[in-house]
């Protein structure tokens, strides 16, 4: 597009001219240029220059047949030389002063009018007033108007005081006039078209007129009309192709094409400016379709391709420009029902690409044309004088005849020679690369990767063709990834072929081998249409075929063997693998060379014992077409001690290999031959003495003296398919014969820790009891090997969850959370803690302990004791782990760990219970008991000032016998208003009582409450006990007594208003009457009305009142007297006495226990006094 002349490239701009008052010219032209639409100004310094516009007299008035279509300079003439309007400026002084000046003005006007008339240029006269008080007389103005013969509005007054207003006015009048001019001119030409003033075969004139009308319309910004007439011109031009005989054939076509190009440019530009992308694309498609096949004479074909390429380039540039304006090109609906447009046709990239493509065509046909014309030197001379002629698209020889130059028409031969000479000046390659680059970048930006790849490929090929391998290589490489990924083997082959050649030419031996190997391992063998690939169209590698792959492979083999370099290459010295220049290839999991060599490694066992051997299967696969012989394989592991080498027994070991396998395991395999697509499976023993992960990292294959391939090992279970081969229909076998191993095989295995040969014993004895220091002896016995740097870790873990307390956590936790506590770790017997060295580790926390174990020789033992205390009954898991290393002075050696755990129940050793008893047969009326709603939480009540009995019992709830050392009730009366007095025996039992499991020990206390208080504190029971161990003597002092305490619940003490005492003998004798007294004691200051009743009893005959109401005087006692005769022997229920207090409306009965009596059949013979003594002892009950 840049090569088009300016007047064609840009839309036409109105041109006017001004003359007179030159001091104003700059301002006026500046203003007009900034108008919208802008107006260009041709400023004439004085009136004499007006003659520039005069129309030259035609040399030959008779119409001659046109010799061209468009005149080359017509457009520029109208844009730069011939104004549409002439503005004549006259100053005030010229008009108003002396008549001589006026005459001068008149003559100017006349001159102007004569010049302008033949051209129909419009005239405008402006009277410039420089001062506000200046004024032109009315009749002068009238005279002026008359003189110029103009409508009054075209005679304007330019008042310099109202500068901007005047400018504005001038501008609008000028624009109006210019518009008028272009319209008139257009009409004039249109009239000619309508009248067909031109001879019918002279389509040239028709085209020219249409062109002119369109240009005039453009001047007027009437795009519609412009488009219409350009279109008409274009179509008439198309008709000319077959009919015109004016010029020699080649030049005729050239002229038509160039005119068509201009018309097309105009039309496309107009359409795109109007935002009609779809129409523009459709238009261009038609343009392309109608001219593409107009190849022309064979020797001039290159001109056609060049022209076509330019069409695409120009359209691409137009689209590029307009797509910047029309932002959202993709949102345009392009497709119409009848003419579907595709996505790319609105993208400049598509046209750039095609421009490049046609330029390539041009180049190849140009080369043919060049080879045909052998007399190259002669051409150059004759072509020099050829210049473009006056008509667009025509060329002529400029002949110097004396002083004048004469245009002489060319013959076609001459023209071709000229064109060839011209063509030689251009470097098509650079042009092509530039075009492709634009397309490539555009596609890449649109993420259209395949199109971009194709452009990149063509670009790279151009670079390659001109020998710019450094430019070509990255482009080629960029493309390969896409083709590899999508498995387009034929395309990949072609690109790789170029890359291989690049490497060869650059002498990059590694690249060369890599590309060659990749090509050799491509699945290009069975393609049914390979035979149709002719050699010519393929890359430097030839067609993709099995034979070609074999050729490449052989070439690599020769190179790798190191015997000779590549003989076929000119600078073969570069491509050689020698001692000084060895070659090492790395194949990782994403390398395209995986199909060259794939190593799969599977351990047969996932977990292996240290130092015991397991099997490992190494499988190698290659897709190379020929059989590959490997000289030596080295298998590498993350534990380098396990590395081993497999030698090919068929190859004599090379001298260079001998040195690097010292101290390594060497296996020999009868054959290390890889044939195409067949696994080479090798199974070997492997053992490791190092625990942890054992992973096969890589397999290094050595082929030839200086060539190695390092192949990353892969697990069969997680092996990816070969990227390109996975689409091939081929026999696929698993790397291992065992299908299970093929599914699950891993290239890594876990080596277990060595078996510990140390016994760790936890000598726990039974359940632990709350409160005691429970001792867990821990013994470490070395049975197999010595123990170095031993460390014992102790953890206490709540069995019911709560997890393992790590040391750090325990610090932050409060004491409460430790119901079980590790109190201490005592060293072995006889060893004091202080004897431990200061550097010895010993940490003890609530639930975690760490103690170091001294060095133990084989067979020695060491023990310690853990002291654990339970605060609450709960089971606890004790974990003890011993970490040590079996070897001395090996800080790196891994530790052996032995773990032991023990669940220990924590139990309460003793259970307390207590009971409060009132004096026998003496029942107080406790008002708190007669409440309607009994409160379960209510503490027990005691009558005040009565002697109650408190029985505290201790039960052995442990599973072992316990020895009770003492039991006491400690009353803490301080600060409490209510108190009671306690009476009890000695605290310490003289002879520790043995309690077998489940047995109860009871102790009786007497309680007399002294103060009327709702809360009576009974005190805390303290029991001191210890385990009754049989080997008491052995453990000696270690068994300490444990004090267990429990606070008894508080009780209420209240003064009972009434107390009923039953008074009867301790026993009765059958048939022997006895007296039964019921004493009702009123402890209040009030008279108490009391109802009582005595129920009949079967076993007794009784005398006395059954029911009555009595009044008991305050602080006195009322006694009911009964006589009873027992009728039956044994324990008998006395008649039940029921009392109801009217005042408290509460009835109560003495307890059943209190109202029983034993009836002897006959009088017994024993001493009553003895019995009473025994009851007082009451140590053991039940």
């Amino acid at each position: 597009m840049e090569e088009y002349p300016e007047e064609l490239r840009t839309p036409p701009v109105t041109l006017i001219s001004i003359v007179g008052c030159p001091e104003l010219h700059t301002t006026i032209s500046k203003h007009l240029h900034s108008e919208q639409p802008p107006i260009n100004t041709l400023a004439l310094p004085d009136f004499t220059k007006i003659s520039l516009f005069s129309k030259p007299e035609p040399d030959d008035p008779s119409p001659s047949p046109p010799i061209g279509i468009l005149k080359r300079d017509w457009l520029s003439k109208h844009r730069t030389k011939i104004p549409s309007v002439l503005a004549a400026l006259f100053s005030h002084s010229q008009l108003s002063s002396d008549p001589a000046a006026w005459l001068q003005v008149c003559s100017h006007i006349d001159q102007i009018k004569t010049v302008l008339r033949p051209r129909n240029i419009k005239l405008l006269v402006a009277v410039v007033l420089s001062d506000s008080n200046e004024d032109v007389s009315e009749d002068r103005m009238l005279a002026l108007r008359k003189r110029v013969d103009l409508d009054s509005k075209y005679v304007v007054v330019f008042n310099q005081n109202e500068y901007s207003q005047s400018l504005q006015r001038l501008g609008s009048v000028l624009a109006e006039l210019a518009n008028l001019y272009y319209r008139d001119e257009g009409r004039r030409i249109k009239l000619r078209i309508e009248k067909k003033t031109f001879s019918s075969p002279g389509l040239e004139l028709h085209i020219r007129y249409c062109f002119k009308v369109a240009v005039y319309a453009e001047f007027r910004r009437d795009w519609g009309e412009a488009l219409r007439f350009y279109d008409e011109a274009y179509h008439i031009l198309r008709q000319m192709i077959g009919t015109s005989k004016r010029l020699p054939a080649i030049q005729r076509l050239v002229e038509i094409k160039i005119v068509a190009e201009q018309l097309n440019f105009k039309i496309s530009t107009l359409l795109l400016h109007a935002g009609k992308v779809a129409e523009a694309v459709t238009w261009f498609r038609q343009h392309n379709a109608s001219y593409r096949r107009l190849v022309g004479a064979p020797e001039a074909i290159f001109l056609h391709w060049e022209w076509l390429s330019r069409q695409f380039l120009v359209f691409a540039e137009l689209l590029d420009k307009s797509s910047a304006v029309i932002k959202n090109i993709s949102s345009l609906v392009l497709a119409t029902a009848e003419k579907p447009l595709t996505e790319w046709e609105s993208r400049p990239a598509y046209y750039y690409q095609l421009a490049a493509q046609y330029l390539e065509e041009k180049r190849s046909s140009f080369e043919i044309a060049l080879s045909m014309s052998e007399t190259a030197n002669e051409i150059d001379n004759s072509a020099e004088s050829v210049v473009p002629s006056t008509y667009v698209g025509q060329f002529a020889r400029l002949l110097e005849q004396g002083d004048i130059f004469v245009m002489q028409p060319l013959t076609d031969e001459e023209y071709i020679r000229f064109a060839v000479a011209e063509g030689k000046r251009f470097q098509d390659s650079f042009e092509i690369i530039a075009l492709l680059k634009k397309s490539y970048e555009s596609y890449s930006n649109l993420k259209v990767q395949r199109m971009a790849s194709l452009c990149g490929f063509h670009m790279a090929r151009e670079h390659y063709a001109v020998g710019e391998f450094n430019n070509a290589k990255p482009l080629f490489e960029g493309i390969t990834n896409l083709y590899r990924q999508e498995g387009w083997v034929t395309l990949l082959w072609e690109v790789l072929g170029y890359l291989q050649e690049c490497a060869r030419k650059q002498g990059a031996v590694k690249d060369f081998i890599e590309y060659s190997l990749e090509m050799a391992a491509l699945p290009a063998s069975s393609g049914t249409d390979t035979q149709s690939f002719r050699f010519k169209n393929c890359g430097p590698a030839g067609p993709a075929s099995l034979a070609q792959r074999e050729v490449i492979h052989k070439e690599v083999l020769v190179l790798v063997s190191g015997e000779s370099g590549l003989a076929s290459v000119e600078n073969s010295t570069n491509l050689k693998i020698t001692v000084d220049n060895p070659l090492h290839l790395e194949i990782d999991l994403v390398s395209p060379l995986r199909s060259v060599l794939l190593a799969s490694v599977a351990f047969h066992e996932q977990i292996i014992k240290p130092n015991s051997s397991t099997l490992i299967t190494l499988s190698l696969l290659s897709q190379l077409p020929l059989t590959v012989e490997i000289d030596q394989l080295e298998v590498q592991f993350n534990q380098s001690d396990c590395n081993f080498i497999i030698m090919n027994s068929q190859r004599s070991p090379l001298a260079s290999m001998a040195d690097d396998k010292q101290g390594r395991r060497v296996e020999t395999s009868p054959s290390l031959t890889l044939s195409t697509n067949r696994w080479l499976r090798l199974t070997y023993d492997i053992k490791s003495d190092q625990s942890g992960k054992l992973e096969c990292t890589s397999v290094i294959a050595k082929m030839g003296p200086h060539f190695t391939i390092c192949c990353r090992a892969e697990s069969p279970a997680s092996m990816d398919d070969l990227p390109i081969w996975k689409f091939e229909d081929r026999v696929e076998s698993s790397p291992t014969k065992d299908p299970a191993l093929a599914f699950t095989g891993q290239k890594a295995a876990q080596v277990e820790e060595p078996d510990p040969q140390v016994d760790l014993n936890l000598g726990a004895s039974g359940p632990a009891f709350v409160g005691e220091s429970f001792i867990v002896p821990v013994t470490v016995i070395s049975t197999g090997h010595a123990v170095y740097a031993g460390e014992l870790k102790i953890n206490l873990v709540d069995v019911r969850g709560g997890g393992l307390f790590s040391p750090r956590e325990t610090e932050s936790l409060s004491m409460d959370s430790h119901h079980v506590e590790l109190l201490g770790i005592s060293g072995p017997e006889g060893e004091d803690e202080t004897q431990l060295g200061t550097d010895e580790i010993k940490k003890i926390q609530k639930s975690f302990g760490l103690v170091s174990v001294p060095f133990l020789k084989c067979g020695e033992s060491w023990s310690c004791k853990l002291e654990i205390k339970w605060h609450r009954p709960k089971p606890v898991m004790l974990y003890v782990s011993l970490g040590y290393s079996p070897h001395s002075n090996e800080s790196t050696a891994q530790k052996v760990n032995v773990h032991k755990s023990l669940q220990i129940e924590g139990k309460t050793a003793v259970e307390f219970s207590h009971q409060i008893m009132l004096p026998f047969r003496r029942d107080p009326l406790l008002l708190s008991k007669i409440k309607l709603v009994p409160d379960p939480d209510q503490p027990a009540s005691l009558p005040l000032c009565e002697k109650s009995v408190l029985i505290v019992s201790v039960k052995n709830s442990a599973e072992v016998p316990l020895r009770l050392l003492s039991m006491s009730l400690e009353v803490d009366n301080e600060g409490i208003e209510g108190s009671c007095s306690m009476q009890h025996e000695h605290e310490t039992l003289l002879d520790p009582a043995l309690l077998v499991p489940g047995e109860k020990f009871k102790k009786v206390f007497t309680v007399i409450s002294e103060a009327n208080s709702s809360k009576l504190r009974l005190g805390t029971v303290c029991v001191r006990w210890r385990r009754d161990s049989v080997n008491e003597e052995q453990s000696g002092s270690t068994i300490v007594s444990v004090l267990t305490t429990q606070t008894l619940p508080d009780v209420n003490a209240e003064l009972p208003p009434l107390v009923v005492s039953l008074d009867c003998p301790p026993y009765a004798i059958l048939g022997d009457p006895f007296t039964f007294l019921v004493k009702i004691q009123n402890q209040t200051q009030l008279l108490q009305e009391v109802k009582f009743s005595l129920a009949d009893a079967q076993s007794f005959v009784l005398s006395g009142s059954h029911n009555d109401t009595v009044f008991v005087l305050p602080k006195s006692e009322y006694i009911l007297n009964y006589k009873l005769v027992p009728l039956a022997s044994g324990i008998q229920q006395l008649p039940r006495f029921t009392l109801t207090s009217e005042r408290y409306s509460a009835g109560f009965q003495p307890s059943v226990n209190a109202s029983t009596i034993f009836v002897f059949p006959s009088k017994p013979h024993f001493k009553v006094a003895d019995m009473e003594d025994k009851r007082k002892e009451s140590i053991v009950a039940e």
Binding site: A335, L354, Q357, C538
Partner: protein
């Protein structure tokens, strides 16, 4: 005349590509088929633009190269069929008909239990059937 047909897998890998031209432009046809996948991607990813043909298997004209017309077809299983023809005036119905028959042939080929899904189609029967379909392309009888 149909110059090339291709089956392209869902990873954009060629499953079957056959050119029917005597000229030595097979490689060029491979490039054309490969590039046409860009248009398929574009059509499928921006269905708005393809307008009424939303989700239709037949994708229509993918792009006109200077000498060929490329048509596309995308099955539900993301397999693409590409047709390259030199005919300048192609009836839409003919292309649709072609793809329908081609699809049937393809389904029969991949339904062969010995065909491994995702691999290239090497069946000779398929190739013969395809060449029959290609030969009858454009002939008025819709077979």
């Amino acid at each position: 005349m149909i110059v090339c047909v291709a089956v392209v897998g869902h990873q954009n890998n060629p499953l079957y590509i056959q050119s029917f031209t005597e000229a030595d432009d097979a490689l060029k046809l491979h490039h054309i088929v490969h590039c046409s996948l860009d248009v398929v991607d574009e059509r499928v990813n921006n269905p708005k633009k393809s307008g009424p043909t939303l989700n239709e298997t037949f994708l229509g004209l993918l792009y006109p190269t200077e000498n060929y017309k490329v048509y596309g077809y995308l099955t539900n299983t993301k397999v693409k069929f590409i047709l390259v023809t030199t005919d300048l005036d192609v009836r839409d119905a003919d292309v649709r008909n072609f793809f329908r028959r081609f699809h049937a042939a393809y389904v029969d080929a991949v339904s062969n239990p010995f065909h491994v899904p995702g691999k290239k189609i090497t069946s000779r029967t398929f190739a013969e059937r395809v060449s029959t379909i290609v030969k009858s392309f454009g002939s008025s009888s819709a077979g």
